[in-house]
């Protein structure tokens, strides 16, 4: 099927002017085709005899389709077609890459923060000093998200009595804004399960006996490591929301919720929690708590967590359903370890148990995957020695 008009993709063969067996000469009209511009005669460019007609009148075929087979006459001046195979391969120029864009002049921003007008407005509203925020926008410019993240996780300097009250109100306001936005934008779903902690607690006691005092472990470290290893099995919970979809994070940084003296909360990251030993995690955790409470946290530690673990057991709370910290997509809660009746092979026993919960972003994962995650945490805590 020849290309007969500028942008012809296909044609309808309306009539044959020749039949199989007919002799044809270069330049003769061999058929008629209906194109977007109307009926056009089809010229043949070889001299010979038609062996077979492959496409019947009335059929519509794309350009380049073989319509008939022609046996070229031996003596005839072979129409010196270039090395084109029967199947015409349109000579396509190299894939059209966009031309290199002309270099765009950009004014040097000196003596002022590189910040978008919107971010400047939101910073004013949330009382964040843009100069203190690391920008993730173009050219390192500070964006609205940067301001909001900074606002939500800004470290609470130790409450100096003088400005404690308004610092408290400011803190409340910032956390409120982040939590409101989280509730507004993130469709949370909640799952809970009860985990038998007897294996873990027994192992912990024996382990601490072997360890010198400074290297002693807390139960929280076991919960963090179990969470980290379980995330390897359900990675979509360990991700960051990018506005339209979640980007799973290659690394597992567990944000540990640390309450601050006199109210307020921060959740700095324990980096690569899945790859660190319990002892190393413990040292990391103690350092984070100490610096959180003395106002020495780095802003990167605050913006790095890929998921958060909150544990309110200390305060006597049995079950806590957390609110996800944007841009994370899940938060794991651990309640108090309490003695509870537990059925073991039909008998009732007293067992130390705790309530583990998961709040997760339904845009990213669903209950089924959340359930798998909690089951993995439970399983991992039954073999504490392997954490």
């Amino acid at each position: 099927m020849p290309i007969l008009t500028v942008d012809m993709q296909a044609g309808t063969l309306t009539a044959w002017r020749k039949r199989a067996g007919d002799a044809i000469k270069r330049g003769e009209i061999i058929a008629e085709v209906e194109t977007d511009k109307g009926l056009i005669d089809v010229e043949v460019f070889t001299t010979g005899v038609i062996e077979s007609i492959l496409v019947q009148a009335g059929e519509t075929v794309p350009t380049g389709t073989v319509l008939a087979i022609i046996r070229e006459e031996a003596g005839a001046p072979v129409s010196v077609t270039p090395s084109t195979p029967v199947q015409p391969v349109p000579v396509t120029p190299p894939t059209a890459r966009p031309a290199p864009a002309p270099p765009r002049l950009v004014a040097e921003v000196t003596g002022r923060v590189r910040i978008s007008p919107l971010a400047k407005k939101v910073a004013a509203e949330l009382g964040v000093d843009p100069a203190s925020v690391r920008g993730t926008g173009p050219g390192g410019a500070v964006t609205r998200e940067d301001i909001e993240r900074a606002a939500a996780t800004r470290p609470q300097a130790p409450a100096r009595p003088a400005e404690a009250p308004d610092r408290q109100a400011r803190m409340r306001q910032l956390i409120g804004a982040a939590m409101a936005r989280s509730k507004r934008e993130i469709p949370h779903y909640y799952l809970g399960t009860t985990i038998d902690m007897s294996q873990a607690m027994t192992w912990l006691t024996e382990e601490n006996l072997k360890r010198p005092v400074p290297e002693r472990l807390l139960a929280g470290v076991l919960l963090i490591k179990a969470t980290a290893l379980a995330l390897r099995e359900v990675p979509e919970l360990n991700a960051v929301w990018r506005g339209t979809e979640a980007a799973p994070s290659p690394a597992i940084h567990i944000g540990v919720a640390i309450s601050l003296r006199g109210g307020g909360l921060v959740a700095p990251a324990l980096h690569d929690a899945d790859r660190r030993s319990l002892g190393d995690l413990m040292t990391g955790l103690r350092d984070l708590v100490r610096r959180a409470r003395s106002g020495g946290l780095r802003s990167s530690e605050l913006s790095d967590p890929t998921i958060t673990v909150t544990s309110l057991g200390e305060q006597g709370v049995e079950t806590v359903f957390g609110i996800i910290y944007p841009p994370q997509v899940a938060i794991v809660g651990f309640g108090k370890v309490v003695e509870r009746p537990w059925v073991v092979e039909g008998r009732i026993e007293a067992r130390p148990v705790l309530a583990a919960t998961l709040s997760a972003d339904h845009r990213v994962s669903d209950g089924h995957r959340g359930g798998l995650f909690l089951a993995a945490v439970d399983r991992l805590l039954q073999e504490p020695e392997r954490l």
Partner: protein
């Protein structure tokens, strides 16, 4: 070491952990947890602090005897005399 020296050491360690706490008003016979906002991490740090300051080993099992300021000083004195 005298009782007062042990008590002073204890208060110093507590002060590092909870700088904002009003240690002067500490009631000797009321549990730390009920007077100060300390969690398990704080208590661990107190134990580590005392261990470093006084060189005494404090097994987890003995934590209950450290619950109140006086109980803690008595326990530490007992450890030191042995």
């Amino acid at each position: 070491m005298t009782r007062d020296e042990v008590r002073a050491t204890m208060l110093r360690v507590l002060g590092e952990i909870a700088p904002e706490a009003d240690l002067a008003a500490l009631k000797p016979d009321v549990a730390f947890r009920d007077q100060l906002d300390l969690d398990s991490m704080d208590l661990l740090n107190v134990v580590i602090g005392l261990h470093a300051a006084l060189g005494v080993d404090i097994p987890e099992a003995d934590y209950s005897s450290l619950a109140t300021p006086d109980g803690c000083v008595d326990y530490l004195l007992g450890k030191l005399q042995r």
